[in-house]
Symmetry: C2
Subunit: 201 residues, 2 copies
């Protein structure tokens, strides 16, 4: 106890080997998620060449690990949100934010389950999800105030609709190359339905 650091809830930094293992685990998990199989902590351990206990110590549940894998994408989306809020054209801001959200969603396979989950393992995840939710809501409001959006879509519909499109892309088939294209098409249709003015662009 020689280093007091501060009185805040600042966890003592990990030992170097522990930090390295943690990183290896996350990387392996990302790989496994990319392969489509549900995350199995035992598999991750074997893949890394580390004891099961190690994995479970760092990530008490598969959800916790998955959320850690998804975190970078969520952070990136938060940054996009920031950008969008600064845009002066409300419709364009709304449109591009949704587009980026969706692109990320259909590109990073760890994201969909995390966004669709009702509850989270990591508080950071909850924070980010809430942030994205409110950002989307604000963008929707702006677009609506500017008269560009039909009034029958609520703030609470945004996340479900994004998840819905992502799911539609999943159902449609495997072809990973076309995923973004398909998502774009679906979103375009949705936006056409949302848009108040008959002819977009």
């Amino acid at each position: 106890m020689s280093r007091p650091i501060s009185m805040a809830a600042m966890t003592t930094p990990l030992r170097r080997d522990a930090a390295r293992n943690r990183e290896l685990i996350v990387v392996a998990a990302r790989g496994l998620v990319a392969e489509g199989t549900a995350l199995q902590l035992n598999d991750v351990a074997r893949r890394v060449g580390v004891g099961v206990g190690t994995v479970y110590r760092h990530f008490p549940t598969a959800e916790a690990l998955l959320e850690t894998v998804a975190a970078p994408s969520l952070e990136a989306l938060a940054a996009y949100g920031e950008e969008a809020l600064a845009d002066t054209d409300p419709w364009r801001a709304f449109e591009t934010f949704l587009m980026r959200t969706l692109e990320t969603q259909v590109t990073d396979p760890s994201l969909a389950p995390v966004t669709a989950a009702a509850s989270d393992a990591l508080t950071r995840t909850t924070e980010l999800k809430e942030l994205l939710r409110s950002t989307g809501a604000a963008l929707l409001d702006n677009a609506r105030s500017a008269g560009a959006v039909r009034s029958d879509v609520e703030q609470g519909d945004l996340v479900p609709l994004m998840c819905g499109i992502a799911h539609a892309v999943d159902v449609r088939g495997p072809a990973p190359a076309e995923r973004v294209d398909t998502a774009r098409r679906y979103l375009a249709t949705l936006l056409a339905g949302l848009r108040d003015r008959p002819r977009p662009v």
Copy 2:
């Protein structure tokens, strides 16, 4: 071998007790599915008060049982499809068929997993899914030929989009009462996006 019946692949009718058990199993399964938990064949057996073996004999996998549970809804949808094809107004036919599909989908909890599945356990399921697919495709074509639908939506998009909306409704929250309303709203938005003429109705 005293009863030749016919030479076709007509399975000998079940013994009476077997038929009864089979029905009990399906009913119990429907109840369990309605409760939201994933179908566990052991659970079903316990619920019915029958040996596990019995359940496994009638339904080799959980999917087979689930598809049997979902079958009536699928058949009903096929009938709706028949009706819709007879409708003289292509847009209305398209619209109401999709609406009925969606209502069924968000009402019967056994349906979503079956429709979204890439492969089926029962050949009858595959047949019905294929029938619905082609019915939807035909209705879409008719609507399109009548100039009522934008051309950037393909036949293959219909099923994914329906699954997507259903999923969106799921993500949105529990409230079972509002499910159909929400689905209606989402579909209306989608249709507004699909419709070529600016003002629907």
